[in-house]
Symmetry: C2
Subunit: 424 residues, 2 copies
């Protein structure tokens, strides 16, 4: 961005945002891209589908910024007011672009909508000197328009898939060339498992104050990430800035780091097992299929995953996994003994190299003083038939879905650590 | 809200929002609550952790609104500037509330943090006439403050769980009493399956223009919802306003409507099967456990769900489900023949009343001209051993996760329709 630049703003337009009907994921997505471009993005606003309020917002923004990104309000309904309001903000008329109407008609399979009086025709009106942003995934185009010197507006529809495609195919190059200086931001994310966000942050207080690269921690349920971001003129330069910090982190946290960027625990495990040419099966009780589906959500799972037995009822633990009724009665389904037997038997029955079994109480009902909600047993066994038993008691504030999700996480991370210790 | 009122705004404060590191779910959550209270909420803004920009935003908002909700910037770090910037906006000093510091010290188990010089102490400073909003889930309190006549500010931390608890325990009553008129909004949502959003919307053009109640359509992957919202003085009055529209919709869409409000397809099925005292099992291939986990994510699943076999590999289709190698070779694993046999065999083997089997190609690899990615077979069989076979070809733009999710949806909705046609 040029030295005398004022910055970028985002204006989200749509009454559904003010009513709280939808979360504004568009603003987050665009913000992320603006910061990757190294742009000075300092404010976001949201207004409803209200002509006067859209105009007020645009006029304000034109006084303090030099680039405005809008989303929403480009469709065919009477509520869609964005282009009209923008033009009115600068007292400029709209003109129909005939070729756009032809394009829209071509896109429509429904002949009823091809009527020249269709409400869709509204989407072809733009200020005379606006450049069109094609919309390959929908009918409403956007525009790039500089209504007054030093202030440019880019408009996008509110539908995320349309907005993203238009950004990537048209807007990105325009913004990069016109507004981004020769510096860009490049990020590299390290992913952690088996350690909490505060424990990570406490150990790297020095790194959190760095300016280039910056290091920022984030956390989802059961997963902690550190994003290392460098400002540089090229990707190569950025990698060199990131490298020493990344190596320091890898040394400090070693086995807590399971991967980078797009890696997930399932994807890392599939890769590792495939490398070893080993297979895996599961016996699931309290997670009820979630462990299996976490693996099969990844393309390529079939290379290592053979299948699983979801033995939710005790009858099936007995009939499918040969857990004796005696053991079920004596130890209970949620016990180390039963879980271990589930792992051994599923591995043998499904003829696999590795097996994980899990049995616990996901709640909210079914807990007791001895065996509270959140108690989970996990057993893992591998090619050498060694058994690893894990007992976890999740915090009582955790709900059913969280207990299931965190349990799957512990299963996957525990197997990862076992594989790591026996790396070939 | 009083007749001469100007309205409510939300100001979200945090550089992480401008960098796109997090999605602003707080703004959505608060918006939803404001609209339930019938408040006139017409604008949202986001600024970073920047002293001058926070002040600018607050001064602007104080001129056009009479209630401002802020989130973020209440913590102990130097980045947390909200209270300071608000006070500065109206040139008012901050004073320490001694009892708050005592409370914070009590909350902390870590003795290091109890040092009187702790950065947390900053959280105890407020304008003299501000009312404190207790934070039962964290250390940073918020405030209710009227710096100038006719303009009130409520501050909340950015951590969603803390903000929500403070809203529910303190802010809600205050706002309702001071700003909400005697009217509130009440909603009732009808949920659809097996029909698209545009098909629903086309059929109810007249209802979409109603003023009280309003009818608004929403869609997630595989699920369409219509929210009917009434403005009324009491819940009973609202129900009476909603009732005729709801009955009209129920008549028009009959079996496409599977439930209301918190109902989900799995929860509705569990309830229906429990009522019949019937059990269910699954044989999953391409969904790899997702169908099972959709059922077991619901508390009470164990009443009807016994378990399932995730036969991802052909070997397990053979060894666990007795699908002959000959049939697998001749018809292929993704075929009506194999899927039907999976359903029949899993029902018999797991001794259940109902069984669903599913086999398909979730992609992105593994497709062919004959059997493209997105081809899915589903077989359902019940107490009378009648078989329902379903063949689906999902659009080629669908990714792996979408194909798996939509397949699970078709399984659940198809079973729902079968149960409906055989309702007891």
């Amino acid at each position: 961005m040029s030295p005398n630049s004022k910055g970028v703003e985002i204006l989200s337009i749509g009454t559904e945002l003010l009513l709280g009907n939808i979360v504004n994921t568009n603003a987050q997505w665009i913000s992320e891209r603006l910061s990757q471009l190294g742009l000075n993005h300092f404010r976001q606003s949201t207004v409803g589908d209200n002509y006067d309020r859209i105009i007020n917002a645009i006029q304000e923004i034109s006084k303090r910024s030099n680039l405005l990104i809008t989303t929403g309000g480009l469709g065919p309904t009477p509520d869609d007011l964005t282009t009209e309001a923008i033009a009115k903000s600068f007292n400029v008329p709209l003109f129909e672009r005939k070729h756009l109407w032809d394009e829209i008609k071509q896109k429509l399979s429904n002949s009823k909508l091809q009527d020249n009086s269709s409400s869709l025709r509204k989407q072809c009106f733009f200020p005379n000197n606006a450049q069109i942003i094609n919309n390959p995934r929908g009918t409403a185009p956007g525009m790039i328009w500089e209504p007054i010197k030093g202030f440019t507006i880019l408009t996008f529809p509110g539908v995320p898939s349309e907005m993203k495609t238009m950004w990537e195919e048209t807007a990105f190059e325009f913004i990069k060339n016109k507004f981004s200086d020769s510096y860009s931001f490049f990020s590299n994310t390290l992913k952690f498992s088996g350690i909490g966000e505060s424990s990570v942050a406490e150990k790297i207080n020095d790194l959190l104050n760095l300016k280039n690269p910056t290091v920022a921690p984030y956390a989802n349920l059961g997963e902690v990430k550190l994003r290392i971001t460098a400002r540089a003129k090229s990707e190569l330069e950025a990698k060199n800035i990131i490298k020493p910090v990344k190596e320091k982190l890898k040394k400090k946290f070693s086995k807590f780091i399971f991967g980078e960027d797009h890696d997930t625990l399932p994807s890392v495990l599939i890769k590792e097992l495939a490398k070893r040419n080993e297979t895996i099966v599961f016996a699931e009780s309290c997670t009820g299929g979630l462990l299996s589906s976490s693996i099969t959500s990844i393309s390529g799972a079939s290379k290592v995953f053979q299948g699983s037995i979801v033995s939710y009822s005790n009858e099936l633990k007995n009939s499918l996994l040969n857990i004796s009724e005696e053991k079920l009665t004596k130890c209970g389904a949620v016990s180390e003994e039963v879980c271990e037997a589930m792992a051994i038997n599923v591995k043998e029955k499904l003829r696999s190299d590795w097996a994980i079994a899990i049995s616990g109480i996901a709640g909210p009902n079914g807990g007791s003083q001895d065996k509270p909600v959140g108690l989970v047993y996990i057993s893992i066994t591998g090619p050498n038939n060694h058994i690893t038993n894990i007992k976890k008691i999740f915090n009582s504030t955790r709900n059913r879905i969280e207990i299931q999700t965190l349990s799957v996480n512990v299963c996957l991370n525990s197997l990862r650590l076992i594989l790591l210790s026996k790396s070939k």
